[in-house]
Symmetry: C2
Subunit: 395 residues, 2 copies
């Protein structure tokens, strides 16, 4: 009998992690992706050598502390894909957290344990990180609400990096009202909120990436959003081409991942899991010219998307190309799926703009997320839109 | 650039591990297989979940403490094959320690990191454990002196078990004189030493397991022993058949290994490395009737071997079937080699009698151990024989 059928948690010893006796999150329990330091425990990054080197941390990451100070109780560290460099929801050393909404399908990653813990109801919410989709992908796959905030909005101090100019701190809940409660603590108010009347936009190029049956599964819920927020004007969100976006994103991510972990990998030559090893090897070969071109592209893309959205534009778009792949799929099939996913995930990644995934659709009996992408800094406003949408669905 | 080209050590944080300022082992540095507790560090058993669960130990295993009290300095924990249930010298999570005497060949295991550390000269000696050959195999493969002591002679308190009725604590050095210095500390004197004139015995059935070219490589050094200790009388050491010995050994080892680790494996379903996973799965299916038959057989075999050796008989025998397999060999080839090795290693394993491996031969440019097996409790006497033999070779 598994102690944790969700395979969500790292089996660290129990240590006291004090939290405030009252506060806006009192009574809630949360999990923390094992990239964040929690005093009294090690931080593994899902990598055995990193775990061995970690020692016991003496400080708690500020974002975790903020949740404790708001009265939430720490329930445990959750399994992360190895060094967070994967979207497969599987760790060669610490196992594959189980998708609570579709157990025969991958949970997605790298915030796999956090998504598994929330989707199984083991915790009320859980912290994750999103560099290339590591909150949005598992949120879509596991039927959860998940946000990739504006880059820099939620502190990643005291957390292991993957690619710092892309890394963000997000979280998962099963429903929107609770998501909003956590948002009040982690986001506070927007300095420049969205106006009460937004301009809903439909990036036809992104929707065009979907297979017809996936677009069909999302159509009714997209229609709900239009009924609520107004008809979505068609726009082209991508810049140059999805291939250009994909490669520039990967060059930035790869170079930064190698700057983060390359020294560790060269020093210890740790046995890395399937896919992870290949991605780091690829990352080590990204060239300076590719990085320079990607940096220049990112500036132009950000300006393009900022102009497109203005102060009131919100993209209504699918989070992922489809429901989660089956656990039985091959590593090659997962890699293909990942490469397709990056094409739509990289809009938020490259721009740094916030994107929310909402568990409002399904296909083949498995969850399928739909998302909203807003101008930078409108994170809390984005959550407020989701609150209205969820209320309309409930009503 | 690897921090540790031998890949011998676990990368734990440096912690102070005090040792006596003087003593019989002053000035020596030693490594400790990561099955033994050392205060201030975790104990992984080469398994990431075990590492995560370990926490930081507060007590040092008595055998390690004995070495510290004798003035030796702790140099670090060494990589063990996963849960010590392997002889391949490779850990899917922590890498493959490098054989310092034959880098293209496996180090052997499960005391792989200890053998690698000593064979590279990174430490003077290192602690290992031997259940089915985990000291003798890497000693033979890496050109080291290694002892499997009489079962129970050297304390395994504060160390992770594999199969308690078979587990023993041994150590490695590069030469016999230093081996004897450590023996004085860890063994002390024998209560019933071997007489000054031993009766050297040649187990022709064990020698018959060797390929002709291996027997040929060992012949000159066996002749040295005969010149020194007297002509070896031919005997049959095995009981019933090598197949019977092999299966009874494996049934005891498998049942005990499953009793030790089965609950952990059932609870956490940890991803186990190649070979290790299959062996535990096999172990879980060993039947009560097989265990009972093996226990009865062991009693009879022990009586048979005790009668054969009396108080003065010492078997002169090969440690392993051949030099270490190549690192490039397949898992299946390694499994075949392991199964052949168990046939000769299990004499000491099933009887609990001490066996010493000496690095006095080679083949194909790689080390090949030759061994002595004595009646129980004659461990220090066995080392004394090796001292005479080594001195004769030097002189």
């Amino acid at each position: 009998m598994l102690h944790d059928p969700a395979r969500a948690f790292m089996p660290y010893p129990e240590v006291p992690v004090p939290h405030a006796p009252s506060g806006p999150l009192a009574g809630l329990r949360f999990g923390v992706k094992d990239l964040f330091d929690v005093a009294g425990l090690p931080t593994s990054g899902g990598q055995p050598f990193m775990l061995a080197m970690s020692g016991v941390k003496t400080r708690t990451a500020p974002t975790v502390q903020r949740l404790l100070d708001a009265g939430a109780a720490f329930a445990g560290k959750t399994v992360t894909d190895e060094l967070a460099f994967s979207m497969n929801g599987s760790n060669a050393h610490f196992g594959a957290p189980v998708n609570g909404a579709a157990p025969d399908r991958i949970s997605g990653g790298s915030s796999s344990g956090s998504a598994a813990a929330v989707s199984h109801g083991l915790v009320d919410f859980a912290l994750g990180t999103d560099t290339g989709g590591s909150v949005r992908a598992p949120a879509s796959h596991c039927g959860l609400v998940g946000l990739r905030p504006t880059h820099g909005r939620v502190s990643l101090e005291g957390a292991l990096d993957l690619a710092p100019s892309l890394d963000t701190c997000g979280w998962f809940t099963r429903d929107v009202p609770l998501f909003a409660r956590v948002a009040d603590v982690l986001l506070g108010d927007d300095a420049r909120p969205l106006p009460s009347r937004i301009r809903l936009l439909r990036p036809t190029d992104v929707w065009g990436l979907l297979a017809p049956e996936v677009a069909e599964a999302l159509a009714p819920v997209a229609a709900q959003a239009e009924a609520l927020f107004g008809a979505a004007a068609p726009v082209e969100a991508a810049f140059e081409s999805f291939d250009a976006m994909y490669w520039h994103f990967r060059h930035i991510q790869g170079r930064e991942a190698w700057m983060t972990d390359g020294d560790f990998i060269r020093r210890f030559a740790p046995p890395l899991g399937p896919g992870v090893a290949e991605r780091f090897a690829w990352s080590s070969r990204v060239g300076d010219d590719q990085v320079a071109a990607a940096a220049a592209f990112r500036v132009r893309f950000r300006a393009h998307l900022a102009a497109l959205l203005g102060d009131d534009g919100v993209l209504l778009m699918p989070t992922m190309p489809d429901v989660a792949p089956l656990r039985s799929d091959t590593e090659a099939a997962l890699e293909d799926y990942r490469n397709a996913a990056i094409r739509m995930l990289c809009l938020s990644g490259l721009s740094g703009f916030p994107q929310l995934s909402l568990p409002f659709a399904s296909r083949l009996g498995a969850p399928l997320g739909i998302g909203l992408l807003a101008p930078p800094g409108r994170d809390r406003s984005l959550v407020a839109l989701a609150e209205r949408w969820a209320a309309a669905r409930a009503g």
